[in-house]
């Protein structure tokens, strides 16, 4: 429970005080707001230069609380096949969803409008793709829009949550996901955030949603203000983390932008949570642009925690992570995310190890369970497949069963941790079974892969069934994803509170110098150690010397010893012939002071400007792991990360292109990466990304944009017109089969070969055999020819016949 927050930020957005999930400053009541978003802002992270897009039913780009952050390059209208994702307005306000999601991510701060987005300085776009027939093509196109420009795709939709559907991405969308994580963000991987299912009331289970159970998407759940389970929440093993959302009537709600330039607290469900996480990930990307898609998932696992989220099934897995089927690893922590992100080391490459038990018939009897086990080495014999430290675990099953909803499926790891892959679904009476359906769990994250895994299928009939019709586990495959090495380096922050690297000196030197010899009381007459000087010794070891040939190490309190060379962390004082300690953090030095360091201990870097060891290099320098020094960034970089030419901020007159600072080329030119100069665009482009005519960003004066190029006049089949959201004229496609038209709709003036112009539309030249007078009268009286669907039939024949 929060006290009054002395560092409270004040914004003038009218609903700022209602945003309980970002700050707590209500003096009259208890308040828990533990996503720590404000704390992340106070560390300087607001989503600057990060691009997020909302895949939904559109975005009101001219909403006063979105316009400033709206990015047309992060937007597209897949339903309408144009560049304007403005939602379709109607009396039922069907298309409010995308605008509501967008506001949560990036509503502008302190502009006297509505509220404040989580990443209020991020770029926000929208891909209108739900307002029409959604097909595999539509989804794949949407997920593949500008993957090198858009960082985060947020989706708050999915298959029906009716408790009986099993559906997921089609082959194209699966490829789009794989391509996105491999090639998006110039190889770092696109980030896909997904809202988990909302079918709690229908007893749905989100493992039957192939989008949220994909390893490429970050599946997000919701909790209410008081940590209660919302009525709409589904449980499943693929949920990674949770945010606050609207809940019961007596709990506070989330506020966001609404269409028609309004503000609303009516946004609810897991649709609230996915955009919040998209915003938080934007803050993390601002802290570290080099995070890969897997780094982001690791960050969420490491920083999310249960806090006050209520669930009966919180368990601690063998890696020490607490996890629940309702909330994943728990409530997101924005501050912890950015702090971990700052110092994050990219995790090792992903390995995948698959194993299948030997095929045999395993009947599932009603009221009983079936167990099948596999013992795996984690593919240790194949270096490229070896998995030791787990990330996602996928089980692909082929199960035949008369009533699918009666099944419960569990997976037990070698450590004994059990994850429920599927719960019973009361409304699912399908007899289709699971045909190579992939169930995914994150519950074993960090555990060891090696050992015996057990799949358990329990059949609990909910209605009378024919007992002779048995279910059958035909085959199953265990797919382990993870790494062969520990993904976390020793100095990575284990928790947000341990973000500063401190090396307690006493502890450090105790580990290095364990000199616990007992003082010899008795006189010794044997031979001395070779390091002993001319005064002899009291015993045979170097600790027994009365003086030293070379150097003395230690003191009376820590047991002195004679050494030929001083160990790391010490320097050789030639005057007193003693090993003296370097300054804290130094590995090698020439003196005791902070400026006498020559090299630093692991985890620190030598700043040559003042010869001191530091964990943070000064501006213009980066921490080089190999040399353990602060090295200068490339001249054009103001800041860089890990390499001199991996820029994260540029000097004046340069701009960031990916990770390179390139000169800001004037209009009409683009920066040629190979020649490292500004080269001219094609004459048809005003601005461009390359020399070709298909590489225009904006068209030159007197040119029109057609498809992906610029033309002086529109080619046959296109007409010239304005387009909302685009600063220049565009060529729009005429109606189909039309070669020349004057505008949208039926304005054709010339048709393709094989078509005739009738009433300014193109109709195929075929004739209808049965177009008699009665038929044509029916066509005419019902004005069927005005309907596009019927034009291709008999309109030409009827019209030609008068």
């Amino acid at each position: 429970h929060a006290q009054i927050d002395p560092s409270f930020i004040h914004f003038n957005d009218p609903k700022w005080f209602n945003m309980w999930y970002i700050h707590c400053n209500d003096k009259s009541s208890h308040c828990r707001s533990e996503m720590n978003i404000q704390a992340a802002w106070q560390r300087g992270y607001t989503g600057k230069n990060v691009v997020v897009t909302i895949l939904d039913d559109g975005i009101e780009r001219n909403h006063p609380d979105l316009a400033q952050n709206y990015d047309h390059l992060a937007s597209y209208d897949v339903n309408g096949n144009d560049h304007d994702p403005t939602p379709r307005y109607d009396s039922r306000n069907e298309n409010i969803h995308g605008t509501r999601c967008a506001g949560e991510v990036a509503a502008v701060a302190n502009n006297s409008h509505c509220m404040v987005g989580i990443a209020y300085n991020a770029h926000i776009g929208g891909i209108r793709m739900l307002d029409g027939d959604v097909t595999d093509i539509v989804e794949a196109k949407s997920l593949g829009i500008r993957p090198d420009y858009i960082d985060i795709y947020s989706a708050s939709w999915g298959p029906k949550d009716d408790g009986k559907t099993v559906d997921g991405p089609g082959p194209l969308t699966k490829q789009a996901f794989e391509r996105g994580i491999k090639k998006g963000r110039k190889g770092l991987g696109s980030i896909f955030v997904w809202a988990s299912g909302n079918g709690g009331r229908q007893g749905d289970h989100c493992s039957c949603d192939g989008y949220t159970s994909s390893i490429y998407t970050i599946s997000i759940s919701s909790t209410t203000e008081n940590g209660n389970r919302p009525w709409y929440l589904e449980a499943c093993s693929s949920i990674l983390a949770t945010t606050y959302s609207s809940g019961d009537f007596n709990e506070r709600k989330i506020v966001t932008t609404d269409i028609r330039q309004r503000c609303t607290d009516g946004h609810t469900g897991t649709s609230v949570s996915a955009p919040i996480v998209a915003g938080i990930i934007a803050l993390a990307l601002e802290a570290n642009f080099l995070l890969t898609w897997r780094d982001v998932q690791h960050l969420l696992v490491r920083t999310s925690r249960p806090v006050h989220l209520k669930a009966d099934d919180w368990r601690t897995n063998a890696a020490g992570h607490r996890v629940s089927h309702l909330y994943g690893f728990g409530l997101v922590d924005a501050e912890a995310m950015v702090l971990e992100a700052e110092k994050w080391r990219t995790v090792p490459s992903q390995h995948t190890c698959s194993q299948m038990p030997e095929r045999r018939i395993r009947y599932i009897h009603a009221g009983q369970s079936v167990n099948s086990s596999i013992t795996t080495s984690g593919c240790s014999e194949e270096p490229e497949q070896h998995v030791d430290h787990l990330e996602h675990v996928v089980v692909k099953v082929l199960v035949v069963h008369p009533r699918r909803g009666d099944l419960e499926i569990n997976l037990i790891s070698p450590s004994g941790m059990k994850s429920q892959l599927l719960a019973k679904r009361l409304f699912d009476s399908s007899n289709e079974g699971f045909r190579n359906w992939e169930f995914m769990t994150v519950h074993f994250w960090g555990e060891k892969a090696e050992g015996t895994w057990t799949l358990e299928i329990i059949d609990s009939p909910s209605k009378l069934r024919n007992p002779e019709v048995l279910g059958n586990l035909k085959e199953w495959t265990l797919i382990l994803h993870g790494t062969s090495q520990n993904p976390y380096q020793p100095y990575s922050g284990q928790h947000s509170s341990s973000r500063m690297l401190e090396i307690p000196a006493s502890q450090e030197f105790q580990e290095e110098q364990q000199l616990e010899a007992e003082e010899e009381q008795d006189e010794y007459n044997g031979s001395c150690h070779s390091e002993c000087g001319d005064q002899g010794c009291d015993g045979p070891d170097a600790e027994h010397c009365l003086n030293c040939v070379h150097f003395s190490l230690g003191s009376l309190k820590s047991d002195r010893s004679c050494v030929s060379h001083c160990p790391l962390g010490h320097y050789e004082d030639m005057v007193s012939r003693r090993c003296r300690r370097c300054y804290k953090g130094c590995e090698r030095c020439v003196g005791q002071s902070a400026g006498d360091c020559v090299s630093c201990r692991r985890g620190l870097y030598l700043n040559r400007l003042n010869s001191s060891c530091t964990d943070t290099c000064p501006p213009g320098y980066f921490a080089d792991e190999n040399q353990r020094q602060c090295l200068k960034c490339h001249d054009t970089c103001m800041r860089c990360l890990r390499y001199a030419d991996r820029c994260t901020a540029c000097r004046e007159r340069y701009s960031l292109a990916g990770m390179t600072c390139v000169p800001q080329c004037t209009d009409g030119t683009f920066f040629h990466l190979e020649e490292m100069t500004c080269s001219p665009c094609h004459s048809s482009c005003r601005t461009c990304t390359g020399p070709g005519k298909e590489e225009c960003i904006q068209c030159a004066e007197d040119y029109l944009q057609q498809e992906w190029g610029c033309v002086q006049t529109c080619t046959p089949g296109f007409y010239s017109g304005e387009s909302a959201g685009v600063p220049h004229k565009m060529c729009h496609r005429c109606e189909e089969n039309c070669l020349s038209c004057s505008g949208p709709g039926t304005t054709c003036t010339k048709c393709k070969e094989g078509y005739s112009l009738v009433s300014r539309t193109c109709i195929v030249n075929a004739s209808c055999n049965n177009a008699d007078e009665v038929f044509c009268e029916m066509v005419k009286s019902n004005r069927l020819c005005e309907k596009k669907l019927y034009r291709q039939f008999c309109c030409r024949t009827c019209l030609m016949n008068g």
Binding site: N81, V134, I137, A140, I145, S271
Partner: protein, 89 residues
Amino acid sequence: SVAFGHRDVYTNHWAVRITGGQEQADKISAKYGYMNLGQIGSLEDHYHFHHSRIVRRAAYALKGPHSFIHMDPEVDWAQQQVVKPRVKR
């Protein structure tokens, strides 16, 4: 909204995989009466074809001359698109 309950609703859009670039895809689309609407997002060699003579929505995958595209040796893969019922959460 989908008018046919749980049954698939077939559209007049196809996804095809054709190597040989845009020209080859245009040639094949014209051969069977389709219009090539271009590459599908970032998926190389995958194209979006539309057939205006096929009814926009149908409860069955209607057969006709257009169906021969599936057998064309230049076409690696083709799939008629079905409407996927999707809900906003």
